[in-house]
C-alpha cells in the first residue's frame, strides 16, 4: 500500500474566521430552495397521473361489450416471465375465436410491454394504472373480470401507440 500523504491545509482568511458570513453562505442554498416550486407530491392524497406513454398494468380492451382478443396466444408465447395464460374457444361472433380463460399473474408480470407490442389486434395494452397491491396470492391472478377495460378508458394509450409505431 502507498504511503499516506499529509493533506495540504489552507489557512483560513479573516472573513472565514468571522464564522457568520460562512454560515450565511451555507444557508444561501437552503433559503434559495424555499422559494423554488416543490418537487415532491404528497402521494396518497395527490396522485401522480401518468402520460399516455406510461406502461402500467396490462389490460384487455373491451369494445362493444366484448373483448377484442382472438385468443391467438402470441402474448403468452412472448411473455418472458410466463405470466399470461390463454385458453381459446370458438364463438359465433365475426372474430370466430375468443379467450375462454385469460389470466395474467400479476406477481409474475414484469410490465415489459412485449405482449402489447406483439398483439395483432391491439387487444392487450398497457394501461396507466400503477397501484398493484394484493393481500394474498389469489388476488394477484387477474382474470377477465379484472382485465377487461372499456375502450374509452384506454383511448389515449391506443392513440399513442398508433402515432409512435
Amino acid at each position: 500500500m502507498e504511503q499516506s500523504k499529509v493533506i495540504r491545509k489552507k489557512d483560513l482568511t479573516l472573513l472565514e474566521r468571522m464564522y457568520i458570513p460562512e454560515i450565511l453562505k451555507g444557508m444561501r442554498i437552503t433559503i434559495g430552495q424555499m422559494f423554488k416550486p416543490k418537487f415532491t407530491v404528497q402521494y396518497p392524497e395527490d396522485k401522480f397521473v401518468p402520460s399516455a406513454s406510461f406502461r402500467g398494468r396490462p389490460v384487455l380492451v373491451e369494445e362493444n361489450g366484448i373483448e377484442r382478443c382472438v385468443a391467438c396466444g402470441l402474448c403468452s408465447r412472448v411473455c418472458p416471465a410466463l405470466a399470461i395464460e390463454v385458453q381459446a374457444s370458438e364463438t359465433v361472433e365475426n372474430k370466430e375465436r375468443y379467450p375462454e380463460k385469460f389470466e395474467i399473474n400479476m406477481l409474475r408480470c414484469i410490465l415489459c410491454g412485449f405482449c402489447e407490442e406483439v398483439c395483432p389486434e391491439e387487444a392487450i395494452i398497457m394501461s396507466n394504472e400503477y397501484e398493484l397491491v394484493f393481500e394474498n396470492q389469489k388476488d394477484a391472478l387477474f382474470a377477465k373480470d379484472k382485465l377487461l377495460v372499456p375502450i374509452e378508458k384506454v383511448q389515449a394509450r391506443l392513440d399513442f401507440l398508433r402515432s409512435h409505431r
Binding site: 442554498i29 406502461r55 414484469i110 410491454g113
Partner: protein, 386 residues
C-alpha cells in the same frame, strides 16, 4: 481518522500489548453496504485486518435463465434487472453483443438515440453513486438534490418508453419507440440546468472539508493493483489510468463526439484514493452532458424499427462485446448454436470484479473508513450477484 494508516500488529512479539482479533459481520442488512452484501471483517480493535465479502444474496440465475427463453429478444427485460440503476447501459451492452453476433447494421438515428439514453443513464447512475456516497459519510443534503435531478432524467425516459426504471427500450436492431417530438428540447433544457447543478454539488460535497478528510487518504488503490485486479470504470480511472472503452474499444457512434476522459490526478491527496474515484464520477457527468448535447444537435432523421429482424436466429458462433457502463467494463459473451435461443450467455459485470479488490485496499484501515471505501467502489448488488 484518515491522517495516517496504521499497520495492524502482525504478531504479539516485543513489548506491545497482546491484542486479539475478532470476527464481525457487516451486512447483509447494513445500510452502507449498498444492498445485500455481507462482509466478514476480521478486526483488531478498530483496525481492519481482513475483509471477506460474501455475495449471492441477490442471485437470480440470470445466465441460466437466458438459456430457457424462447428467443434472444426476451433476454432484454432480464438484462434490465441486472444493474437496476443503469438499465439502459445494460441493454446497450447486450444489444451491441447480439448485433455483432447477427452481423446487422443499425440505422444512424438508432445509434444516436442509444448514445443519448446511455449517457443520460450514466448521469442518473452517477447521481445515485455520489448521493449515497455522501450519505455513507454523513452528508445528507446532496443526496436529496441528487435524487431530484435524477428524477428529471427518469421523466425523460418515461416520456420516451413508458417506464422509469426498467425500460426494455433498446431492442436488437432498433428501439421500442422513437423519441417523442418534445424530447429534444426538454433534454437540452435539462443539460443546461444540470451544468449549473454540478457546480453546486461540487461546492456542497466534493470540496467540503469534512468530505475531503474522510476520503482523501482512504482506500488507496495504486494503478498496478487496479490493473492486476481487472478493475474498470471510475475505479481504474481514479487510480490515474487513462482507459475508457468508449474510446479504446469503440462501439456505436462515440467516435463522432468530442469529449475527454476524466482521470484521477490526486488533487487533495495521493492518486487512487476514494476522493479521486468520486471526482472522476463528478467529471464524467460533465462529459456525459457534453456528449448528450452534441448528440442532440447532430441527431439524424430516420426510422428506428427498420432494422429489427423478424426472426432472430444467429449462425453458430460466439461473440464477446464490451461497453463502458457507469461502473466499468460491462461485457456480454454470447454463444449461439444456431437456434433461436442463446446457448450460453455470460455477463462480465464490473461491480463483481471491482468488489474483488476490496480486501486489498481496505487492509489496515479503520472500520469507519471501510464504509467510505465500499461507497467509493459503487457496487450494485443486483449486478454483482446477477
Amino acid at each position: 481518522m484518515s491522517e495516517a494508516i496504521i499497520a495492524p500488529p502482525i504478531s504479539s512479539t516485543g513489548r506491545s500489548l497482546r491484542t486479539e482479533e475478532m470476527i464481525i459481520n457487516m451486512g447483509p442488512q447494513h445500510p452502507s453496504t449498498h444492498g445485500v452484501l455481507r462482509l466478514e471483517l476480521i478486526v483488531d480493535g478498530e483496525i481492519v485486518v481482513d475483509v471477506v465479502p460474501h455475495i449471492g444474496y441477490l442471485h437470480r440465475c440470470f445466465e441460466k435463465h437466458c438459456e430457457h427463453m424462447t428467443n434472444y429478444q426476451q433476454v432484454i427485460p432480464y438484462v434490465d434487472r441486472m444493474d437496476y440503476v443503469c438499465s439502459m447501459n445494460n441493454e446497450f451492452a447486450y444489444v451491441v453483443a447480439a448485433e455483432r453476433l447477427l452481423k446487422i447494421q443499425v440505422p444512424e438515428r438508432v445509434e444516436y438515440i442509444r448514445v443519448i439514453m446511455a449517457e443520460l443513464q450514466r448521469i442518473a447512475s452517477h447521481l445515485i453513486a455520489v448521493g449515497t456516497y455522501g450519505i455513507d459519510i454523513g452528508a445528507f443534503t446532496p443526496f436529496l438534490y441528487c435524487f431530484r435531478d435524477r428524477e428529471m432524467i427518469l421523466d425523460l425516459f418515461e416520456m420516451t418508453c413508458g417506464a422509469r426504471l426498467l425500460y426494455n427500450y433498446m431492442w436488437i436492431g432498433g428501439l421500442s419507440h422513437d423519441i417523442p417530438v418534445e424530447f429534444v428540447p426538454k433534454a437540452k433544457e435539462f443539460c443546461g440546468y444540470f451544468r449549473k447543478q454540478l457546480r453546486d454539488f461540487n461546492d456542497l460535497l466534493t470540496y467540503n472539508e469534512i468530505f475531503v478528510k474522510r476520503t482523501a487518504n482512504v482506500g488507496l488503490l495504486p494503478a498496478d493493483v487496479a490493473v492486476n485486479f481487472a478493475c474498470s470504470g471510475p475505479m481504474l480511472r481514479g487510480s490515474g489510468v487513462n482507459w475508457d472503452l468508449r474510446r479504446d474499444d469503440p462501439y456505436s457512434v462515440y467516435h463522432k463526439f468530442d469529449w475527454d476522459i476524466a482521470v484521477g490526478k490526486g488533487e487533495v491527496g495521493p492518486v487512487g484514493s476514494c476522493w479521486d474515484r468520486h471526482i472522476v464520477r463528478m467529471a464524467e457527468m460533465e462529459q456525459s452532458i457534453r456528449i448528450v448535447e452534441q448528440a442532440l444537435e447532430q441527431i439524424p432523421e430516420g426510422d428506428v424499427q427498420s432494422a429489427i429482424p423478424k426472426r432472430i436466429r444467429p449462425n453458430p458462433g460466439e461473440v464477446y462485446a464490451r461497453t463502458e457502463s457507469p461502473r466499468g467494463e460491462l461485457g456480454f459473451y454470447i454463444v449461439s448454436d444456431g437456434t433461436g435461443t442463446p446457448y450460453r450467455i455470460k455477463a462480465r459485470s464490473p461491480g463483481f470484479v471491482n468488489l474483488s479488490v476490496i480486501n486489498e485496499i481496505s487492509r489496515g484501515s479503520m472500520i469507519a473508513d471501510l464504509v467510505a471505501i465500499i461507497g467509493s467502489i459503487d457496487i450494485v448488488l443486483g449486478e454483482v450477484d446477477r
